[in-house]
């Protein structure tokens, strides 16, 4: 069975493998999951501190990292994170795409001029990030579980998160690694290729962005045609992810990634589909492992903080409002009869 649980220090090697050797397809698709062992170990440590509710005032803000485990083999097949507050106490950078109307009454001319404004507008939004999964699992139930488990985590720990959620979607990158938006804009200011900038962004403090990002608004019409076409467009490999998030209620607004021009999706936390449709239920007396309960496939989450677990199972409601699931699910969730779980339809 598939299980989503908090990342543990022992997962480092397997996560690094998923994050991928530089240049692999997966590697290109993960931008905020560190690919350096130390950075990753630090991230996991911080996640565990956050899960224990032990982040201190004035210290680093809570950030969480979860993994997708195949319980039959114990292998990790994916990772996904949540930053309680985008920017983690520092500015969070985006471009905000906005429009000005340049109109001359005298000449009877009116034209729309698109402008990219440097923005910190999404700072302190809750951020879904670090999503990475082995390619063969893309478009499977496991893929959906890994992504949506985070929403159930948010639902169960609502106080830790803010009113709005954002998620950055990887933008257009060609097979040769070139990124049209970067090549037309960022490259001139950062004086480095996209890969390097992307790596710095995952590993270093964001100070370098403040230092190197163009300080003034940028006219879209002055970007290369390829860059203009790429604005707000997702990388083709992220389309399934994008669609899943759209079903969740996320919408592309006016924000764009500063490196690749990819879209940033936004939603109101309390309106997220999984959160709205999830219900708290008590676990009901066991049915046999062979018996799937005859119910629908559901996401079932339980546990607080470091005890958070989320899995996919067939479950059926009972007349008493309890939930009937196979016993093996109990043990996965580390819960027993009568314990409360959060369930959402798949």
């Amino acid at each position: 069975m598939w299980l989503v649980r908090p990342a543990l220090p022992d997962d480092v090697n397997q996560i690094l493998e998923i994050a991928g050797a530089a240049g692999s397809e997966t590697a290109r698709l993960s931008s905020t999951l560190p690919r350096q062992r130390e950075a990753l170990a630090e991230k996991i440590k911080h996640s565990l501190t956050s899960l224990a509710g032990k982040t201190i005032a004035g210290g680093p803000l809570p950030r969480f990292l979860f993994v997708l485990e195949d319980t039959a083999t114990g292998r990790v097949h994916g990772a996904a994170g949540i930053d309680a507050r985008a920017g983690n106490g520092q500015p969070f950078y985006n471009y905000r795409r906005d429009a000005l109307i340049h109109a001359s009454h005298e000449l009877g001319i009116s034209s729309r001029v698109d402008v990219l404004y440097p923005s910190h507008g999404l700072t302190d939004h809750t951020l879904l990030c670090s999503f990475s999964i082995t390619p063969e699992l893309r478009n499977t139930e496991a893929f959906e579980l890994l992504s949506r488990a985070r929403i159930l985590f948010i639902a169960g720990h609502r106080d830790w998160f803010t009113q709005r959620v954002a998620v950055e979607i990887q933008g257009v990158q060609h097979a040769d690694g070139s990124v049209p938006f970067w090549d037309s804009l960022g490259r001139h200011f950062f004086n480095m290729d996209f890969e390097t900038a992307d790596q710095h962004s995952g590993a270093l403090s964001k100070t370098f962005i403040a230092e190197l990002m163009p300080p003034h608004p940028v006219y879209v019409t002055l970007l290369s045609e390829a860059a203009q076409e790429a604005l707000g467009q997702p990388h083709e490999l992220t389309v399934p992810n994008l669609e899943l998030l759209q079903r969740e209620g996320f919408q592309a607004g006016c924000y764009l990634d500063i490196f690749d021009g990819g879209p940033v999706l936004e939603a109101r936390t309390d309106a997220l589909h999984t959160l709205v449709t999830s219900q708290l239920k008590a676990l009901h007396g066991a049915v046999g492992d062979a018996d799937d309960g005859g119910g629908d496939l559901c996401l079932i989450a339980a546990g607080d903080g470091a005890g958070f677990r989320c899995t996919l199972a067939r479950a059926a409601g009972t007349l008493e409002g309890t939930l009937k699931v196979p016993v093996k699910v109990w043990s996965l969730l580390e819960k027993t009869a009568g314990d409360e779980v959060r369930v959402a339809p798949c």
């Binding site: 340049h102 001359s104 000449l107 001319i109 200011f189 019409t221 002055l222």
Partner: protein, 354 residues
């Protein structure tokens, strides 16, 4: 004989012919009779002091006294940017640096600016092609510095000139194509014309207000920023010899440079000197090469006149003038005159353009 004098009503047709022959490059003098008539009226009001000093437009005609025709024009705008907003791009540098990453990037950037507001501009120079050579262009241009010098209180301490930028025979400008055309749904010529007709509000309405990062423009456009049109190169050389320098401002349409100088440092101003006229019956050969001639002005505001005489006419206190020159300058013996060399004394090459 060629004499500089204030532009007058009878010059309209000559002016129109000149503007027509000059073609499309000259936006300050469009071949438009109404427009030219307005300029003449404005110049007349200015010289007769019937308008506010800062609104003054001093236009001078170069008249061939043999034919009575105007064969050239040049001017000084007392102050720019008062009636209409005056725009330029300032070419400056944006530096992005990260010590952590060892990155230090300089990005040339164009900032829209109104910095020339309230400054005097020398403008509208046009010489009929039949009269090119022989120092006529120098007289037409430099007479303005003599006027600026005489009547400094009417002008700003600093004066500037906008130089025509690069465009091809079809009137296509690389900077316009890469920048202006993205914001103005019209051809460069049309925009330039509208701007020349004083129709400038459309610039404020349509022009990009945020800085333009040059690396985002194509090489062809970057290459012409601060460069002059081939036809304007001699004028630039002349102004540089007078002490004008590129001040970092460029034209918002074609990227042509703005050059400026303080009036008191202009070569013609520094080299000027006063004498008294002495009309003589002695035969004087006026036909000497340009480098052996000096400009001579009658020091009059309302009826400012300048012509050239051989340097050999200049004495210790006086300058000997044949009657026809005195007549052209409308002076008599004993009247004060002011003189300045027509050409640089040393022909040391002007310092290389920056």
């Amino acid at each position: 004989m060629l004499v500089i004098r204030p532009l007058q009503q009878s010059d309209l047709e000559d002016l129109y012919t000149m503007a027509q022959r000059a073609g499309k490059g000259l936006t300050s003098l469009p071949a438009d009779r109404d427009m030219l008539q307005r300029k003449i009226n404005q110049a007349q009001e200015t010289f007769n002091q019937r308008c506010a000093p800062e609104a003054g437009l001093y236009l001078f005609a170069l008249e061939d006294t043999d034919t009575g025709k105007a064969v050239g024009i040049s001017g000084i705008q007392a102050r720019v940017g008062l009636d209409e907003v005056f725009y330029n791009y300032r070419l400056s540098v944006t530096v992005n640096a990260s010590k952590e990453l060892g990155v230090h990037v300089r990005t040339p950037t164009l900032h829209l600016s109104n910095d020339m507001t309230d400054t005097s501009e020398i403008c509208s120079l046009l010489l009929s092609s039949d009269y090119h050579g022989g120092g006529n262009g120098l007289l037409l241009s430099r007479c303005r510095f003599m006027f600026l010098d005489e009547f400094r209180k009417h002008f700003s301490e600093k004066v500037f000139a906008e130089m025509r930028g690069v465009s091809d025979e079809q009137g296509m400008s690389p900077l316009w194509d890469a920048l202006g055309s993205k914001f103005f749904d019209m051809e460069f010529i049309e925009a330039d014309m509208l701007s020349g007709l004083g129709n400038k509000s459309f610039i404020a309405e349509l022009m990009p207000k945020y800085p333009i990062y040059l690396p985002m423009l194509p090489d062809s456009a970057r290459a012409v920023i601060g460069r002059v049109h081939g036809n304007t190169a001699p004028a630039l050389t002349m102004l540089k010899a007078e002490g004008f320098n590129f001040n970092g401002m460029v034209d918002i349409f074609d990227g042509g440079p703005v050059v400026e100088a303080f009036v008191h440092t202009i070569r013609t101003v520094r080299d000027s000197f006063n004498r008294y006229a002495s009309v003589t019956r002695k035969a004087i050969d006026l036909d000497v090469p340009a480098d052996k001639r000096v400009m001579i002005s009658n020091r009059s505001f309302r009826n400012f006149r300048v012509t050239t005489v051989p340097a050999s006419c200049v004495g210790i206190d006086t300058v000997s003038l044949p009657p026809e020159v005195a007549e052209a300058l409308q002076i008599e013996s004993g009247d004060p005159v002011r003189l300045a060399p027509l050409k640089e004394r040393s022909q040391a090459p002007a310092k290389a353009a920056n």
